[in-house]
Amino acid sequence: MSLSSALQQLASYRANNTRASQETFKKGVTILKSRNAPNLGEDGWAFLEQLALASIDIGRLDVADECTKQLSEKFPNSPRVAVLVGIRKEASESPESVLRYYDGVLEEDSANAAIWKRRISVLKRIGKTEKAVDELSKFLDTFYTDVEGWLELADIYSSCNQYTSSLQALSHALVLAPQNPFTALQFAETAYTAGDLPLALKMFLVVTEMVERDIPAPEDSAPTGISVRAWWGVKLCSRRLIESPPSSPSASDTPVPKTIKLIDELATERVLTSYSGEQGAEGRQLVSQWISAY
């Protein structure tokens, strides 16, 4: 595995926010050992940061220390290096001392969003969920456009089974990132978990439309990737809506579509098509059994 292809792979991990720590560590350590002087140019520092985070993630604190040392020598008073030092402290010190360190950094520079996020993450890790949610709401009042923060808030609310608040946070994320089908899919699945089936059905259909928007004839090709998940969602919602029509109106006042039976047929066909190629061969039997049971 040549150095340049490893570097390219790591750059794509950075661009896509992938957290493949084991892979990053394996490739990064060979690159770190091979270079004596930083000849990677501007990307070298971002690579060191990425390698430091990956090593902390899998427990190799020695490699992380080396990367942090190089970075702090080059950038002495950088807020980004302060975040890295804080994460390294999280791995070896008690949470209280880490929180004190973060408070110290925030006193000097109260607009350091990354340090604030780390503080919230530590609070969530030690179990102070209420305090974490309060801090996160304050953070999002200040930095409204942080999509990551809204997704994190939705995740915390979902884990506490407060699905309405989670849906509210996700709708803020949807406003900020309207073309992102992944956020809409999370919204649909949270609505399904909360029991609001018409809303979930509507959002699943929105996701399928968003993903297949640029295909000229989507009915001719099998769904791939996230649209399989969305069509599954449509199938589940329509099946439950047909079997037991909800007695009470949905919590969000979304009406059930009149053509629900046609939607059910379409979703069945789409789900079966997506398992019809060689990729879906393993699940095909189970899927057709499950579908024919209803």
């Binding site: 899998i58 427990g59 604190l61 791995a91 640029d214 996230i226």
Partner: protein, 112 residues
């Protein structure tokens, strides 16, 4: 492959035409004749090199990428879009598992 060959041939042809034009003009200057029209074969060579270079550059171009947002989103995975690295928890049980890598087992004894 073919595009690169065309590009190299076109580059050689254009250098050759330029050098011939220079030689021709210096010959005219040596004979003290007024500078007239360039010989037509040099002009033909230049135009040929231009056409071949355009074809070679078009064939040598990297593969085209799609422009719609939907096609871009199809390339991403859910784990990448939902990774929330700013809030990520880097203190997990992985450090106790990777004990065969050496030092982490000592550190895990220090942290409870």
């Amino acid at each position: 492959m073919l595009g690169r060959v065309f590009l190299i041939v076109a580059t050689i042809a254009i250098f050759h035409a330029a050098f011939s034009a220079y030689e021709h003009l210096s010959q005219l200057k040596a004979l003290e004749r007024p500078e007239g029209q360039l010989p037509p074969d040099i002009i033909l060579e230049t135009l040929f090199a231009l056409a071949l270079g355009i074809i070679g550059a078009s064939l040598n171009a990297p593969p085209l990428k799609e422009i719609t947002w939907a096609s871009e989103m199809r390339k991403h995975k859910i784990d990448d879009m939902d990774s929330r690295l700013g809030f990520a928890n880097f203190v997990n049980r992985g450090r106790n598992i990777s004990s065969q890598l050496g030092q982490s087992s000592q550190r895990s004894a220090k942290v409870s």
